[in-house]
């Protein structure tokens, strides 16, 4: 990946993402095509595929109290991948290969062990912040109206995930009037 292009690609999504799932960025920014729409969508799908695998792992080992919430989220994350794939393939993008859990665990070692409810939710919060930053970054890159719209609709859902997870953690679910996916 060209260094400058990758830097531009991650642009706004990069700030404040130095810990936890932010380290997943090297697994996301693999695509580079001549079309910024294809590049942005392939990288967005790759990020979503990572999120799906991470959530599947979390949901499989979660305590009963949060299993239902995580199951709902992982189902919606799978729907996001499908919803993003259709227009991406239509414009000539290729479906990225879903990552293996082991490749994600290298960057998010918390997934290697069974997490308590609060720890699992805290990781879910970080995953949602990671994906929101990525979707806002995609909004910067995309030029196709349909792609801007569908990534916006996905962003709305991920923002809702974040609010619900925060509330479950006992945090303020809407700490800011502008949801940036940043931790502060």
């Amino acid at each position: 990946v060209n260094r400058l292009t990758r830097k531009q690609l991650l642009g706004a999504a990069a700030a404040g993402a130095a810990v936890g799932p932010g380290l997943l960025r090297p697994l996301v920014a693999q695509a580079q095509t001549g079309d910024p729409n294809i590049t942005a969508m392939e990288n967005t799908i790759r990020a979503k595929q990572l999120i799906v695998v991470a959530y599947e792992r979390l949901a499989a080992t979660a305590s009963p109290g949060i299993r239902g919430l995580l199951a709902t989220i992982v189902d919606q994350e799978r729907q996001h991948v499908a919803a993003l794939l259709v227009p991406t393939e239509y414009i000539g993008g290729l479906p990225p290969t879903p990552p293996a859990l082991q490749s994600i665990e290298k960057y998010v070692p918390q997934l290697r062990r069974r997490l308590t409810g609060p720890a699992a939710l805290k990781l879910a919060e970080q995953l949602e912040q990671f994906t929101i930053r990525g979707l806002l970054g995609a909004q910067r890159q995309l030029t196709d109206a349909k792609l801007i719209e569908v990534t916006g609709e996905v962003l709305g859902c991920d923002a809702q995930h974040l609010a619900v997870v925060r509330r479950q953690l006992g945090e303020n679910p809407i700490p800011r009037a502008f949801e940036t996916g940043q931790t502060r």
Binding site: E153, A163, I174
Partner: protein
């Protein structure tokens, strides 16, 4: 819109604040931002209308959301002014239904939040400035959170759909 600028009055809203020319894109973005501002004014009026019917945690939620809608309105107005256009003022009155109780108040707020989300989603692709688009996307994401919390307050699923489109 080639001559958009001097003394130009945006449909349904304010006017150019000076006599300098506005580029087509700046003008279009200012008009889009102003339509979002007018929707935020509607939201503020709805919250003012509904908060008196609410109590306890529902009231606290509505008050917190209203404060964020105020932030959105202020930020939108500032963005419009930065394009040398005068933003719209709130309407003198808003046509809002009589509320019989807390359930009706929450339902009204949810309905208008959904309308707001739909307007934001529709506006994203029409905004020419990338910075303004991201700004609008951040507010849209916050509106989606409001809708989720209002749904929970109504004992409805807080994550009802994978794609948040707002009301038709």
């Amino acid at each position: 819109l080639g001559a958009a600028g001097a003394g130009f009055v945006l449909a349904g809203c304010g006017s150019a604040a000076d006599s300098g020319p506005l580029s087509d894109q700046l003008f279009a973005d200012a008009a889009m931002l102003d339509s979002l501002l007018q929707q935020e004014y509607t939201l503020l009026a709805a919250y003012d209308h509904a908060i008196g019917r609410l109590s306890g945690s529902d009231r606290a939620l509505a008050v917190a959301i209203r404060a964020q809608e105020r932030n959105h309105a202020d930020a939108l107005a500032a963005q419009i002014r930065s394009r040398k256009v005068t933003p719209s003022s709130p309407a003198a009155t808003y046509s809002l239904p009589a509320l019989s109780g807390a359930a009706g108040a929450l339902a009204l707020l949810d309905r208008i939040e959904q309308q707001t989300i739909a307007l934001y989603v529709d506006s994203l692709a029409k905004i020419g400035s990338v910075e303004v688009r991201v700004f609008a996307a951040q507010m849209m994401a916050n509106e989606a959170q409001h809708a989720s919390l209002l749904a929970a307050a109504r004992r409805l699923p807080p994550l009802p759909t994978a794609l948040v489109t707002g009301a038709p």
